[in-house]
Amino acid sequence: MQTTDNNAALRNFSALVDFSNLVNSSLDLNFALGNILLTCFGKFHTTKGLIALFNDNNILEVASCKGITTPVINSFPKISKDDFENNEALDRFVKENNFPVCREIKSSEGLKGVLILGSRLTKKLYDKEDIDFLSTILNVGATAIENSLIVEKLKKVNRSLDSKVNQLSSLFDLGKEFSGILQTETICKLLVYSLIGQMLVSKYAVVTCTNNSFNILENRFDEKLLTAALQNCSANIFVKNLTREDLKTDFKQFYDLGIDLVIPMQIKDETKGLILLGKRKNELVYSKSDIEYVSSVGSLAIISIENARLFKETLEKQRLEKDLETARNIQKNLLPKKIVQPSNLEIAAYNASAKMVGGDYYDIVKLDDEKVLIAVADVSGKGVPAALLMANLQAFLKSICKQKLPLVEATNLMNDLVAENTTLGSFITFFWGIFDNAKKEFTYVNAGHNPPLHVYNNSINKLKKGGMILGVLPTTIPYVSDTVLLNSGDCIVLFTDGITEAMNAKGEEFTDECLESLVINSYNCSSEELLSKIKQSVEEFTIGAEQSDDITCLVLKVK
C-alpha cells in the first residue's frame, strides 16, 4: 500500500517537473496555455477545458480552449476584474455547462484569470489530491503565463515604437525633400504618396485655401461633390482635426463622400489647406498617433506649398518690374534729350515720375530758325495706361509740328486726335506756346492745364486762354490763342499739378500760392537757378512723404 502511494506521488512529481520544463521552455502565450490544458487533460482524463485571462482592459476573456463548442465559448460572461469577487455570472456559466472545476489562476502579480475543466471520462469526481495537484500546476503555469504576457506586451510596445520610428524617419525624409522643391504639383504628389503609403488609404484629397476659396490640388473623391461640399464652407471653420464622428454631425456632405479624416494645414494659426482622407484599407480607425503624423506631414507640406507660391509670385513680380523698367526707358526717350536754346530765351526743364512710368510730358521743338514750340501736358491717371496715352500724345505732337499749322488749328486737330484715340474717362491737360525769338513774343493755347505763370515787374500774369482739356469731346468750339509780349528779365514758369499738389507728411498741399510767392521772390536769377529753387522747395516740403504724382516744371527766362 505504501509503495503504491509512493509510486503515485513519484508519478505526480515527475509529471510536474515535465510540465514545468515544458511550459517555461517557450515565451509564447498560446503554447503555455495549450500545455496547461493538455497536462490537465492527461492527468484527469477530461476532454473539455478553457482558460480565460484578463485582457488589457481588465475584462475576463477566453484565451485558450479545447473540446468546447463555439456557442458555449460565446456565452462566456464578460466580467471585469473589479467585479470578479462578487460576480455570479461565472458561477452561473460553470453550473449551466456542468463544469466541475473552476479555479483561479494567481501569480505573484495577482489574479490572472480562471481555468475551467469538464468532467472526467472515468466518471470519477475530482478528489482532494487532484485539486492539490491542479493547484500546483496552476502555480507553475501562472508564472509562465505572467512571463508570456509580459513578452506580448513588450512586443506590442516594440511594434508601436517601430511604427513611431518609421513615421519619424518618413517625416525626416519628407522634410528634407520638401525643402528642395518649388513646384506645388511635386510637393503634393510626395505628400499624397507618403500619406497613402503610411495610412493605407486610396481615397484622398489635398486642397489649398487662398482668400477663403479652395483650390483642389489632388483628389480621388467625387470631384463635383467635393467641390460642392467645399463651396459651402470657408477655410476658417477648419481649425481642428475632424474625425468621422465629427464629420457625421457637423459636416454631413464630407461624411457622405466617405471622408474619414479632415486635417487642416496651418501656418501661424491660419488654415492654408486641408488634407482629406477616406477609409483605411486595413479597416482600422485613425489613431491619435496617425492623426499626429498626418498633421505633421501637412505642416511640412503647406510651408513648402506656400514657399512655392511666394517664389512664383516673386518671379512674376520681377518680370513685371523688368517690363516696367523697359517702358520707363522708352518713355524717357520720348522727352527731349537736349534742350534747344534760342538766342533770346533760356530754358530749364525738370521731370520726375512718381511710379516707374508716368503721365507727365513736356517737349521743346525747334520749328524754324526763329520759332521754338514749348509744350507741357499731364495725362489723367498714372502708371502704364497714362504712359501709353502720353506716348500717343508725343507722336501726335511731333507729326502736327511738321505741318506748320497755326497754333489754334493745330490745337483743334490735336483735340480731335486725342478724343478719337482715347477711351472714356481719359483726358489730357495740355499747354503749348510758340516763342518768336526775333519779336520776343509768346503765342500760346491753354487746353485746361494749370496756367503757367508769366512773371514780370514783380507781378504774375496767368496764361489761361485756350479752351477745354484734350480728349473729352471732339472740337466743336475752336480753341483760342493769346500772345504775350516779353521783355528781357521776364520769366515764364510752366508746371504740372505734381508741383502745386505735392503733399507733405501731414497731407497738406504745396499750393499755387506758395509757388507764386516763391517765383515772384526769386525770378531775377537764371532759369536753372529758379528751377532748382522750386525743386528744392518742393523737396523740403515733402520730406518724409512719398511722391504721389509726377512732377514736371519748365522755366523760361527772356534774355
Binding site: N166, S169, L174, K189, Y193, L200, N282
Partner: protein
Amino acid sequence: MADFNVSLRGVGPVSVIDVKGYLDAHTAPELENVFNKLLDEKQYRVVVNFNDLKYISSAGLGVFMAYVETMRENKGDIKFSNMTESVYNIFDLLGFPILYEFYKEENEALLKFNEQGKS
C-alpha cells in the same frame, strides 16, 4: 546621395519591376514613371522584385497604393517578391500584408499570375 535604380522587364505576360537601392520621397517619382508607362501599355500584371532594395520610405510605399487599384480593376495585380527582412518589416508595420501578396521568390509570384490567367 543615396542611389536608386528601377528597371522593367517582361516575363511572358507579366511585367517585372526590379528596384535597387533607396526608394524614398526623392526617388519615388522614378518608380511612378515606370507605373505610368505600364498603364500606357495596358500592362496590369506586375511583380516587383525587391532583391536589391535596401530601404523604402512611406512615400515609396505610397506609389504601390496609388496604382494597385487600377491594376486590380483591370484584372491584374501588383505582387511583391524577394524582400529582405528589413524591407518586409516596414511593409508589415504599415499593414501591407493584408492587402498585397508577398512571395519569397519571383517565380512563385509569376506562377500565381499564370494560374490566375488560366482560370
